[in-house]
């Protein structure tokens, strides 16, 4: 794999083909657990880990598994990775494990993971597959954390609350009360808020894309001063 294709992979995972904002995959956890930054971060880390492990394993066994039975095999691999993640979280961040609840085992059915395994890892060599899993996980996780932060901020006026669930007792002081709210804006924390904020993020991304495109177009069409017009006499002023 050449370096340009790694650049391509990075661009795809983080922006152009972002799992959460463009492919709209894995919406269930995206909407369900992003009520706070710490929950989002926990699930983002778990998903990232599973994605990397599954992409790596699928790429390694890609020549051994026939097409007809590939999906059950992939799901088995993913389920194994998820079980490992679950056990790890039980051991090191039990409270967060309890908060995330059913959405941890549900990572198995997250379309992003099976999607990347089937669409990319089974056709590519190990380094590329590993990198793709990593960058897709980062892209998904970034949206997850952003969503969690926005919802937490709108709903409680604070950021990074309860970080000790993930980073140990020292992180308790990370809580940052950005502004004081007498009455929490509940809708941001409730499920409808997840839909609303996700919609706004998607709209924002599309807006950035359109304006970038427009600018690129304008730049491409902009006449260079001094150049000659085609089939027209005179120069462009």
């Amino acid at each position: 794999m050449s370096s340009t294709s790694y650049r391509q992979l990075t661009l795809n995972g983080l922006w152009k083909n972002n799992p959460a904002l463009v492919q709209l995959l894995g919406l269930c956890p995206l909407l369900a657990v992003t009520a706070s930054t710490v929950n989002a971060l926990g699930l983002a880390a778990a998903t990232l880990f599973v994605l990397v492990v599954s992409n790596t394993s699928v790429s390694l066994i890609r020549s051994l598994v026939s097409d007809t039975i590939r999906l059950p095999v992939f799901v088995m691999i993913i389920a194994a990775a998820v079980t490992v993640t679950e056990l790890l979280m039980q051991a090191y961040s039990y409270e967060l494990y309890q908060i995330l609840g059913i959405f941890l085992p549900l990572i198995t059915t997250n379309c992003i993971i099976l999607g990347r395994a089937d669409a990319f890892a089974r056709k590519n060599a190990l380094p590329a597959a590993l990198y793709d899993g990593f960058i897709m996980g980062v892209g998904f996780g970034a949206v997850l954390v952003l969503l969690g932060a926005i919802r937490e901020l709108l709903g409680t006026g604070a950021l990074f609350a309860d970080m000790q669930l993930l980073f140990g007792a020292g992180a308790e002081s990370w809580r940052w009360q950005v502004f004081n709210v007498d009455y929490p804006f509940l809708v941001a924390i409730l499920p409808p808020g997840a839909f609303l904020v996700t919609g706004c993020l998607i709209a924002l991304k599309n807006q950035v894309d359109t304006s970038l495109e427009r600018r690129a177009k304008a730049q491409a069409e902009a006449p260079v001063a001094g150049s000659k017009r085609v089939r027209v006499t005179g120069t462009v002023s």
Binding site: Y183, V187, P192
Partner: protein, 340 residues
């Protein structure tokens, strides 16, 4: 020079958007007056303050979208949205509640979808529901009617709204709240135990509903909308209430008259579900649309967690409106008919 060829007949209608919206605004006046009379100037302050915010917001967002903001504001639709929302808000609501509600209604209910004519949901109800699930405490603090408590004056109103002093002393449960919270009492005992409740809906509420009914009938007379949706809704609600009423035991949901003349029934029937954009289109479709809203209002009022149900019922049926339209599409004259 106009190249458009216009042929007779040259009938001119007054069906401009701004004329219709102006009629709706005029028709809310009796209801607003009665609300002000019974509950003090809170609703009036809500409406004026909310209207200013709404017009400013609409102007800004339409300009941002690259359209002519003056045209958008001049059709008065944004004022109708904000007025309907502010009538539904409790009097003496804190200013930030009004701001959040109006901004949600205009931005999320209307402009996100492309402005007037494109909104799948009733914008005022979108704003109301967001407020109701976000700030249940403030949204259920309705003022006591005149006669049971001192109604605040205008200066007190401004202090309540903009300085956020508490008004716990003058809030009271609405008749529907009372019915919701007291499931252990016979309706008769509830009636004798709470002075704000009457068999007709409650002090102030009966009169308010009557006033909105009056405005609605005037709108019907002006042919702003057809009778189908409102009548279907009221009939369905009355039939449901009749079926659920057992003479006033603790489990019954109040008589049909009580349901017709308390809460937001008449206001909803003539001002909310008649929104031409988000309701069903054909006459038959509007009958179904209105009737289902009536049934839902009754079900949520008696079985749900919230005392009144108009906003939820309307939003749910807004979802269903395209579906209803699909099955109630009128036949084109001369096509279809009997199998031959």
């Amino acid at each position: 020079m106009s190249l458009l060829k216009v042929t007779s007949p040259h009938a001119s209608g007054q069906s401009r958007v701004s004329a219709v919206m102006r009629d709706v605004l005029v028709a809310t006046l009796p209801g607003i007056l009665v609300l002000t009379g019974y509950f003090g100037p809170g609703t009036l302050v809500n409406i004026i303050f909310g209207g200013l915010i709404a017009v400013a917001c609409e102007y800004a967002i339409v300009a941002l979208r690259g359209r002519d903001p003056k045209v958008a504001v001049a059709d008065l639709s944004v004022l109708v949205t904000s007025t309907l929302l502010c009538i539904a808000l409790p009097p003496y609501a804190p200013w930030w509640l009004i701001v959040i509600g109006v901004l949600t209604a205009v931005l999320l209910g209307k402009q996100v979808f492309g402005g007037l004519g494109y909104n799948p949901f009733n914008p005022a109800m979108v704003g109301y529901v967001v407020l109701l699930i976000s700030f249940p405490v403030q949204m259920s603090a309705w003022a006591s009617p005149r006669g049971l408590a001192e109604v605040p004056g205008l200066t007190d109103t401004f202090r309540h709204v903009f300085a956020s002093t508490t008004i716990d002393a003058v809030t009271a449960a609405t008749p529907l709240d009372l019915l919701r919270q007291n499931t252990g009492l016979l309706f008769k005992d509830l009636l004798t135990g709470s002075p704000e409740l009457t068999g007709w809906g409650g002090i102030g509420w009966f009169e308010t509903n009557l006033a909105f009914l009056l405005g609605g009938v005037w709108l019907l007379y002006r042919r702003v909308f057809t009778w189908h949706a409102p009548i279907a809704m009221l009939a369905a609600l009355a039939v449901c209430a009749l079926m659920g009423y057992d003479g006033g035991s603790s489990q019954s949901g109040g008589s049909a008259l009580f349901h017709l003349f308390s809460g937001a029934t008449m206001f909803a029937a003539f001002f909310i579900i008649t929104d031409p954009v988000s309701s069903a289109v054909s006459n038959k479709g509007r009958l179904v649309f209105g009737a289902l809203i009536g049934v839902l209002i009754y079900l949520i009022r008696t079985l749900g967690n919230y005392p009144d149900a108009v906003a939820f019922a309307v939003l749910i049926l807004n979802f269903c409106a395209p579906f209803i339209d699909h099955y109630t599409q009128p036949k084109v004259y001369g096509t279809g008919g009997r199998e031959s």
